[in-house]
């Protein structure tokens, strides 16, 4: 019997995790890049007395998330390009949106792992009280990651056979995901106020939820026609 949507998505996710567990290539490069990014920003935005520039932490966290996420997206699909395995996935009698969903889940997990390291690091270097409202911060990061990864996974899959994919991916991805990044930065900045502005953060969480619904729906809907050559 042909596997269902969830089964296919989990199969693709499990396969990606098995490959990453063996090579650890993407997780190490993404983490290294994200940490390097935060370190460079800390040299620029933390004064000699150890006092960071006011209000920089939220932006730096989201820039590091977006840049490292872009790197991970490129590498994930570079792996599918080698041996043209993406075509093998598309040739299977499985729902193509389910294949997209599996790849998306893998990206979300990878970005979440990076955020687990990045968030305390930015909090430490920039004296940012990220953990004053941990649930709201988790909601902002989780929803922002879903929005960014949903568009990124679609674009990375589309560009997999393009020679200039490394250049085109950020050029296409950042303008489309600007609403997600703005919502993430503004929502996180609201949480860093003293006292934290919970209603403002909640408003941005609502907007992120709306973006996610639109982006994920559009990506699931367009994946099949976009992947047919």
């Amino acid at each position: 019997m042909r596997p269902g949507f969830v089964e296919v998505a989990l199969l693709v996710l499990k396969k990606d995790l098995a490959i990453e567990f063996k090579s650890r290539e993407i997780v190490y490069t993404t983490l290294f890049f994200a940490v390097a990014c935060v370190m460079i920003f800390s040299f620029a935005f933390v004064m000699e007395e150890g006092v960071p520039v006011q209000g920089a932490a939220a932006g730096i966290l989201w820039i590091a998330v977006a840049f490292s996420g872009t790197l991970a997206l490129g590498r994930t699909f570079e792996r599918e390009r080698y041996g043209e395995t993406l075509r093998a996935l598309l040739l299977a009698p499985a729902s193509r949106p389910a294949i997209y969903a599996g790849k998306l889940l893998g990206m979300i997990l990878l970005m979440a792992a990076t955020e687990v390291i990045l968030t305390p690091m930015v909090a430490f270097f920039f004296h940012a009280p990220f953990f004053a409202r941990p649930l709201l911060l988790a909601a902002l990061l989780g929803l922002g990651t879903i929005g960014f990864a949903s568009v990124g996974t679609l674009f990375a899959a589309m560009l997999v056979r393009t020679r200039t994919r490394d250049v085109l991916l950020p050029i296409l991805l950042y303008p489309v995901t600007i609403p997600v990044i703005i919502a993430g930065v503004r929502g996180t900045a609201a949480l860093l106020q003293s006292p934290p502005e919970e209603p403002v953060a909640t408003l941005w969480i609502g907007l992120l939820t709306a973006f996610d619904v639109v982006f994920v729906t559009l990506a699931l809907w367009t994946f099949e026609p976009l992947m047919t050559e």
């Binding site: 019997m1 042909r2 596997p3 089964e7 296919v8 199969l11 396969k15 098995a18 490959i19 063996k22 090579s23 080698y82 041996g83 043209e84 395995t85 075509r87 093998a88 996935l89 598309l90 040739l91 299977a92 009698p93 499985a94 729902s95 193509r96 047919t228 050559e229």
Partner: protein, 232 residues
């Protein structure tokens, strides 16, 4: 699995931008046929195979399976198609068993039985738990062939199936394709190796510059015939 007795390309063209990869090709393959698809590099063989595999959409014309379009069957049609492409569609970081197991599950097969049989057929049972990245080209080719045939497809599409194979493996692949055709599968083989194809294919289709220049029953002397149609 969807069972169909013929596959038909009707006046099919495919353009990539301004480049015409395939132009007004009409071709029919019936159950039991082994069609040899020949032509020089860039003639459009791989594009034709891509269109038959539903991976490439024609710019004009239609591809039908038992009289129905791929759209009419939906995802289910792909359970009846097996493709061995020039790229092998294998994950080098995974073992032979993990590769086959992944694809078997994706096709909804009873994995342990299907994977075991495929590993035996590929002659790789003793290397089942080795990473594919460490295999020779011939071993990867044998594994990729079994991956393509894992689900016993009705339409078997082979793009250069003999690449990297030694004499013994080549004979096994030829016998395998003949057995599949004997069971009613439709086999399409694109290859430059005319000597290996001679005696295997039952029909000859020659493409040049994206156009079909010959479609006829196979007779001996394939190389001489090909040269007369295409040149050296």
């Amino acid at each position: 699995m969807i069972v169909f007795d013929n596959v038909r390309l009707a006046d099919v063209s495919r353009h990539f931008g301004r480049r015409r990869a395939v132009s007004h090709v009409s071709l029919e393959a019936r159950a039991g046929d082994i069609i040899g698809l020949f032509g020089p590099n860039g003639a459009g063989k791989s594009t034709i195979i891509g269109m038959l595999a539903t991976l490439v959409a024609p710019t004009a014309g239609s591809v039908t399976y038992g009289g129905q379009s791929a759209r009419a069957f939906g995802d289910r049609l792909r359970a009846s198609i097996g493709l061995l492409a020039h790229e092998l569609y294998l994950y080098p970081e995974l073992t032979a068993r993990q590769n086959l197991d992944f694809f078997a599950r994706l096709y909804g097969l009873q994995t342990s039985a299907a994977v075991g049989a495929a590993l035996d057929a590929a002659g790789l049972a003793d290397r089942a738990d080795d990473e594919v990245g460490g295999f020779s080209r011939g071993m990867r080719q044998r594994l990729a062939l079994e991956r393509a045939l894992l689900h016993e497809p009705r339409l078997v599409l082979m793009d250069e199936p003999f690449t990297g194979l030694d004499d013994a493996a080549t004979s096994l692949v030829r016998e395998r394709l003949q057995r599949l055709s004997g069971k009613g599968a439709i086999v399409v083989v694109a290859t430059h190796d005319l000597d290996l194809a001679d005696g295997l294919v039952t029909r000859v289709a020659i493409v040049r510059g994206g156009r079909l220049v010959a479609d006829e029953p196979a007779a001996g002397g394939l190389r001489a015939h090909y040269r007369s149609m295409v040149g050296n």
